[in-house]
């Protein structure tokens, strides 16, 4: 496999990580993307940059544990800052009746190797004084935190290039198909041949797959983000909450970044999205319920990005059934950032060994309901 070349479509955090992990094994890789660096409306550009290993679907556990072990030294490994800051992550609950489920989930995750603990009372206040009194307990992952998704993506793609990959800044017209075999990509009307083609083009994957006759069980989603004016540091951990559509963190600038899956409006024709006032107001008020200091303020700016939501909430990663030489890493459903280092490593291993790593087994694109 090492003698063959690979094309990766999409230089977002997933595609760049895959290219890096292949290149460092000596594989000839070409990374295709018309954008130099993550730009609007890609998910790697719009991402909130949460590095969260808890509260994931069990099918992602192996990836999240592998990724969590790498984030702390990833900047060193890639020789460029990912902006990672380890302030921990708190998933909070506000109702007594949610506490048992929280404790049970913490137990399950601990058994899976995730570094997570149950916290309440003074310990919880010590971790995050900014939280509302309504918050009574939390699951805490001290090794989690936040990173800069744009810097992380560029760190991966630059490291890939340093390791020998080629970054071809060209728009990919189509996946080149010969009968039931992927033969590379079509760019500017000519085929760039490859033994293996990896589709990791985020929200653009749908269109490329469709043109190749593939129906990805993924739907287009616009995720909105908000940013407050910078404040004095008061919240080290990143925060999510039960029963609330919320992700919240204070950045190094002091600004609060707020998301949680609030939808923007999609224009499929132009492949763009825009925020809606309803989502902005709704998202802000949920954030203010958990961090009361935000209540009197208004968002300083907002944006949204396009992402692929998978049919069952976890990504499709691996070989495409019935199309030789084609891999996908798509449908990350708004939570692909933390696992990106492990996804890249696993996909590279799968391509090199032609054998599916255990961490990808339950994410196989051919799983029930997946790519038929």
């Amino acid at each position: 496999m090492r003698d063959n070349n690979v094309v990766v479509i999409g230089a977002g955090v997933i595609g760049s990580s895959i290219a890096y992990h292949l290149a460092r094994e000596g594989v000839r890789v070409t990374l295709f993307d018309d954008a130099d660096a993550p730009s609007s409306p890609s998910a790697s550009w719009a991402s909130a940059g949460g590095v969260r290993s808890q509260r994931r679907d069990s099918r992602e556990w192996a990836l999240t544990v592998a990724a969590a072990a790498r984030w702390h030294s990833l900047s060193d490994e890639l020789q460029a800052s990912t902006g990672f800051r380890s302030g921990g992550h708190l998933h909070v609950v506000e109702r007594e009746e949610d506490v048992d489920e929280l404790r049970a989930r913490v137990e399950r995750e601990r058994e899976a190797g995730i570094r997570v603990e149950y916290v309440e009372h003074s310990e919880l206040r010590q971790l995050a004084a900014a939280l509302a009194p309504s918050v009574i307990a939390a699951a805490y992952t001290p090794g989690d935190g936040q990173a800069d998704p744009r810097a992380t993506t560029s760190a991966f793609s630059s490291a890939a290039v340093r390791a020998g990959a080629t970054f071809n800044r060209t728009y990919v017209d189509a996946i080149a198909l010969h009968e039931r075999r992927a033969a590379g990509v079509v760019v500017n009307g000519t085929t760039h041949a490859a033994a293996t083609t990896v589709l990791a083009a985020g929200s653009w994957s749908l269109r490329l797959a469709h043109a190749a006759g593939l129906n990805l069980p993924i739907s287009l989603r616009a995720y909105q983000m908000l940013l407050s004016m910078p404040q004095r540091p008061s919240l080290a951990p990143t925060v999510t909450a039960t029963n609330r559509a919320l992700s919240l963190k204070q950045l190094q600038t002091g600004a609060f970044m707020i998301g949680g899956g609030w939808p923007g409006e999609i224009d499929e024709q132009s492949h763009t999205c825009r925020t809606t006032q309803e989502s902005i107001d709704g998202n802000w008020s949920v954030a203010a319920a958990i961090v009361p200091a935000l209540a009197p303020m208004r968002p300083a700016t907002s944006w949204c990005g396009l992402e692929g939501d998978s049919f069952d909430g976890v990504p499709l990663i691996g070989p495409v059934p019935h199309v030789q030489g084609l891999y996908v890493a798509v449908g990350f459903t708004g939570h692909g950032f933390q696992i990106a280092p492990a996804v890249g490593e696993a996909v590279a291993q799968a391509i090199l060994t032609n054998c599916e790593p255990a961490s990808l087994r339950e994410l196989n694109p051919a799983r029930e309901g997946g790519i038929a």
């Binding site: 730009s39 940013l227 910078p230 404040q231 009197p296 300083a300």
Partner: protein, 365 residues
Amino acid sequence: MNDVIVVGAGIVGSAIAYRLTRAGARVTVFDAGDRTPTTATSFAWTNANAKLPLAYHSLNVAGMGEHLALEMELGESRWHHHVGNVEWAIGEDEHQRLLDKVARLQGWAYPAELIDRATLRAIDPALIPPEGVEAIAFYPSEGYVDAVPLAALLLERARAAGATVHIGKSVAALGPRAVSLSDGTPHQADAVVCAAGRWTGALVATAGFAIPMAPTRSCLGVTTPAPHLRTMLLSTAINLRPEGDERLLLQNTTTDLQGDDPTPTISTEKLDQHLLSPARKVVRDFDGVKIENAKLGIRAIPADGHPVVGPVPDCDGLYVVCSHSGVTLAPFFARAVAREILEGETERRLAPFRPERFCATTTSS
């Protein structure tokens, strides 16, 4: 509405060129290039701190938001330093004014708080409030921008996206959908945006419209290597902030220096009086620090102190943007101008700041 000429490549003109180009316009930028723009002699403080009335405050808040959006968009933020700003008041009058201002800003949901000396030490141990300081305020959302590199980056991004940039070509006159250069060459476009900073009054006058200007001055000095500051300070005696390379930038806004040359020779005595002596009183271990490079800041301020943004009356296709606080406001102006010129929309927040208001003044007097 596709061809747009932008006159001036300071922070405002560069931001406008960038935004117009990204919005699909064919942009040509002219800048004389032989005079120091205010962008290069600005304290470059991003804030909506003492901006009155509320409409102007809100414009500056929008500017701060657009700065955050710009950092997002460009995927890097090496030029914007979110350090927060300390302000203190000496004496009863200043004290009361500061309390009033903080209360007003809090009422407007602008991040502002009164802090004690212990909190100040935690925020920045290098700052020593001198005797007589009765109140200290902190504005965590404020900071400063490396304005010259940011203007250069925006202009470069505009150029890379297809804008034509002529530095060293001076515009002598503005007219309907056209400019003429000082060598007499005419250039036409669908629209002309005048972002000529402190030369706005003189330039717009060539199109038959009077925008009275009232530039004010400040004395600025970059120090030799100095103690590290984590934040910035605003006070009556001295403003100061980090300037990179271990330097500080000092500013005295009550300077008695006059003239229109941004790089005059300023005597050692004056530098000591205006900058070093007041800085020594408030920065720990400042003894021995000198001024490496002194400048006269000449601000681009329309006569009533407020921005002038909008179509110039009776001159088809000519649009003017001139304001103090250009560093804070540039990204907001750029967004608004692109929307108004290319899409024909009207930015409501600019309603109090249209050029017509000067017309009214001159006809009534």
